[in-house]
């Protein structure tokens, strides 16, 4: 047992910190810190900066341009990047498609697609969920029917995050109807410029159009775009769920959110003294900080076991649930700390406008929208109810 980092790990942390200090544009980190929304080009800018440093793909093999960091290094990078308010790296190509291609794709697919992910030439989005399916992912209905050298795809995907920026989508589609619902699913790569693909943004409860519906109307996809074998797509999708869910606890985000919250509580006056000294608010803040201190260690225990080759299975469900609870509590506290100033809705400011005429504290406009947005954490990516089901089966064996 040893809670300290090795000298190499500390050196790595210093290197990350220095890179962030020298390369992360203040323009971007200020937007992140204030909960503002980044434009496509701003996200691309950070992507390119990390790519130039060779840090864009922490878990890819070096042969494909990956950094080959171990789990602890990835954790360190995540912590430092979050504390510096770096933008999050758009994960769909880097963290979700790439591992599947590396494990199950053809050599040609790897050589074609992976470099284009790094270069930013391709922006991928994810086509898993469907309106009728929800947590019951395997009940998906989007059909791909083989016609010669093409699949003809018809159907609809939804909750496609940042799909409005993407030029490619990886999809789970139904290619077979026999056996269990899981058995007839294939993993297909679709160029969104293909005729018949339509993207419709969905405005969420916080007023932002972050997710989309994607419609497929007789979309012809070359058979070469199939990953692995036909009807084996469910296996590839599940591979992701059990092997690549690093940072599911969101410790880095929570660290940064706690830092922001503390600063707001210290600078917000309530009843003649800083809110941080109000015993009721301080109690709530202390409780979530204590929970986070423990979860950091829970996360490191899982990460460190993973670094030893023990694949985290249902443990990541535990991290997801607790991590969600902490992140949601932190945004809830920030909303409440903001008091009446959380009421105005200023979409222009959130979309990047430099100032707002109402003379609110800088964090105020995003406080309520962030709270509402973060409700998604316990729903998307396998709802917390689904995670409790996984724990029930895998750990409790009930």
């Amino acid at each position: 047992m040893d809670l300290s980092y090795t000298a190499e790990q500390e050196a790595f942390r210093a290197e990350v910190r220095s890179f962030l200090a020298n390369n992360l544009p203040k323009r971007l980190s200020e937007k992140v810190r204030l909960g503002k929304r980044l434009t496509k080009s701003e996200m691309e800018e950070w992507h390119a900066l990390l790519n130039a440093q060779g840090w864009l793909a922490p878990n890819w093999p070096a042969a494909y341009g990956g950094a080959e960091w171990d789990a602890v290094q990835r954790q360190i990078f995540e912590e430092e990047a979050c504390l510096a308010y770096a933008p999050r790296v758009v994960p769909f190509g880097l963290m979700m498609l790439a591992p599947v291609l590396l494990a199950f794709g053809s050599e040609e697919q790897k050589r074609h697609y992976l470099p284009r992910i790094l270069s930013g030439e391709d922006w991928w989005c994810q086509g898993y969920s469907e309106p009728g399916a929800g947590s019951d992912l395997a009940s998906l209905k989007t059909r791909a029917v083989r016609e010669g050298d093409h699949y003809v795809v018809n159907g609809q995907k939804t909750w496609t995050t940042l799909g409005q920026h993407a030029n490619w989508i990886f999809c789970l589609v139904r290619t077979g109807t026999e056996g269990k619902p899981q058995e007839g699913i294939s993993f297909l790569l679709i160029d969104m410029a293909t005729p018949g693909v339509t993207v419709r943004p969905i405005t969420l409860i916080d007023g932002e159009a972050e997710v989309n519906e994607v419609f497929f109307d007789n979309v012809r996809v070359p058979v070469a775009n199939l990953v692995g074998e036909e009807n084996k797509g469910w296996t590839y999708a599940k591979y992701l769920l059990t092997h690549e869910r690093t940072n599911i606890a969101g410790v880095g985000f929570s660290n940064a959110a706690l830092a922001t919250l503390k600063q707001v509580a210290a600078s917000t006056m309530s009843g003649g003294k800083p809110l941080a000294q109000n015993p009721h608010f301080a109690a709530r803040m202390a409780q979530v900080e204590i929970d986070l201190m423990a979860m950091r260690t829970t996360n490191l225990r899982v990460v460190s076991a993973a670094a030893k080759g023990q694949a985290p299975g249902a443990e990541s469900s535990m991290l997801k649930i607790k991590g969600t609870q902490i992140r949601q509590e932190l945004t809830s506290l920030l909303r409440r700390a903001t008091g009446p100033d959380a009421m105005p809705f200023l979409p222009d400011y959130l979309e990047g406008g430099d100032n707002q005429t109402l003379d609110l504290p800088e964090h105020a406009p995003a406080a309520a929208p962030s709270y509402f947005n973060m409700r998604k954490l316990s729903i998307f990516g396998g709802s917390n109810e689904i995670q409790r089901g996984i724990i029930t089966k895998a750990i409790l064996e009930l």
Binding site: S129, G132, A133, G134, S135, D136, S139, T158, W159, I202, T203, L204, I205, G207, T268, M269, S270, G271, G272, N278, H280, F281, R284, S332, R335, R336, G339, P340, D341, A342, M343, P344, F345, L346, T357, L358, D359, A368, P369, Y371, F372, R375, K376, S378, I379, F380, S383, N384, E385, R388
Partner: protein, 376 residues
């Protein structure tokens, strides 16, 4: 001990629900907001015509109600329908202050408010103030001009006249030294900047640049406005608590319906016991919220200490239950509950943001404790 509404109130409630059901829905509200309109002017006129605004004032003020249970009834229905009309700002806040303090000639305004012809708003909060009612700095000196800013003025951009709280003596936080002044929104030097709130209401920032007022514009006696402000805020707290209750009822009903209809893993999700038990807890807490509203409605005319004890108890409970109901409604819906185009989003935003009006759960918990220590 009787929890049945009087026949008059039962009729008013039925009528109001029918009017709101026929005239409001989520699509209409979204279109309205997208158009930049602050509320539905036709509905507003209809509410006034049907006496809904009059129901919020007692007979001696020209209305035909005004008791706690009248306010609770009207606002529960507004909350249930998701109305964004300026009933709170014009009738409860602005109208309530004028009705309580106005001279005979000023009372004419109340009749106009009840008729829906004039809208009032109460300009009270200032930049950086929070939930302390006495935290007012905007100074009214002997030169009788106002310079400064009032924020979060609900319905401020749609009002013809503002009730403005000003300080004539003492320092921010003192309960003594507060006065109320009537200022028309077209007064020279007065600027109203409108914004929309997170939950779709219309509010404004009002700046005063040497705005001249005169003694005639005064509501009540100089320097003694605090007690009436507190009393009117008690009524406003009841109003938004009842409104939150109505919105919770809608969120609850939508969720129950969704649990019955939505199929996953081959059956209605309402068949999953874990969700059933959580919904049962939501149901229990909504009943508690209803009781809290009843308690405050029933003590609105009680002596100050008892009334304010219920103000803080009710607002604290409404805030806690509201967060639970809003968050569980979204979670039990899943993705669809996260979308703006689904009506739940409006109810959820309103329920949550009501915690930011007139003091949140922490503010009122602390106040409840303080009132208890003072009473002991």
């Amino acid at each position: 001990m009787d929890f049945t509404p009087t026949e008059d109130r039962a009729m008013l409630k039925d009528m109001l629900r029918r009017v709101l059901t026929e005239n409001t829905d989520h699509e209409k509200r979204r279109a309205l907001l997208a158009s930049g309109a602050p509320f539905d002017a036709a509905l507003w006129a209809q509410l006034a015509e049907l006496g809904i605004l009059g129901a919020l004032f007692p007979e001696d003020q020209g209305g035909f109600g005004g008791a706690g249970f009248d306010i609770a009834l009207v606002f529960e229905e507004l909350g249930r329908a998701g109305g964004i009309e300026p009933v709170l700002s014009s009738a409860i806040l602005g109208g309530g202050l004028v009705a309580q303090l106005g001279r005979a000639d000023q009372q004419a305004l109340v009749a106009e408010v009840i008729a829906g012809e004039t809208r009032l708003a109460f300009a009270h909060a200032e930049p950086g103030t929070r939930y302390d009612l006495a935290d007012v700095s905007l100074a009214l000196g002997p030169d009788m001009t106002l310079s400064g800013t009032k924020t979060h003025v609900l319905g401020g951009a749609e009002a013809q006249m503002l009730v403005v709280s000003v300080r004539e003596s003492g320092a921010a936080g003192d309960t003594d030294g507060l006065s109320l002044i009537l200022v028309p929104t077209d007064a020279p030097g007065l600027t109203v900047t409108r914004h929309v709130t997170v939950d779709g209401f219309s509010a404004a920032t009002v700046t005063f640049d040497s705005v001249a007022v005169d003694e005639e514009a005064r509501l009540g006696t100089a320097g003694t406005a605090y007690d009436v402000i507190e009393e009117v805020f008690a009524r406003a707290t009841l109003a938004v608590s009842a409104e939150a209750l109505g919105a919770m009822e809608s969120a609850k009903e939508m969720t129950i319906t969704y649990l019955k209809e939505r199929q996953q893993f081959g059956r209605a999700i309402g068949k999953f016991q874990a969700l059933q038990h959580r919904m049962a807890d939501v149901l229990i807490e909504v009943e508690q919220a209803r009781s809290a509203v009843v308690n405050l409605a029933g003590h609105l005319d009680a002596p100050r200490a008892l009334r304010e004890r219920h103000v803080s108890a009710t607002k604290n409970l409404i805030g806690r239950v509201g967060a639970l109901v809003a968050e569980e409604a979204v979670q039990l819906h899943g993705g669809i509950g996260m979308t703006d185009e689904y009506a739940l989003s409006h109810f959820v935003r309103r329920i949550v943001m009501i915690d930011h009006l007139f003091g949140d759960v922490d503010h009122h918990l602390e106040r409840f404790i303080q009132l208890g220590l003072e009473a002991a």
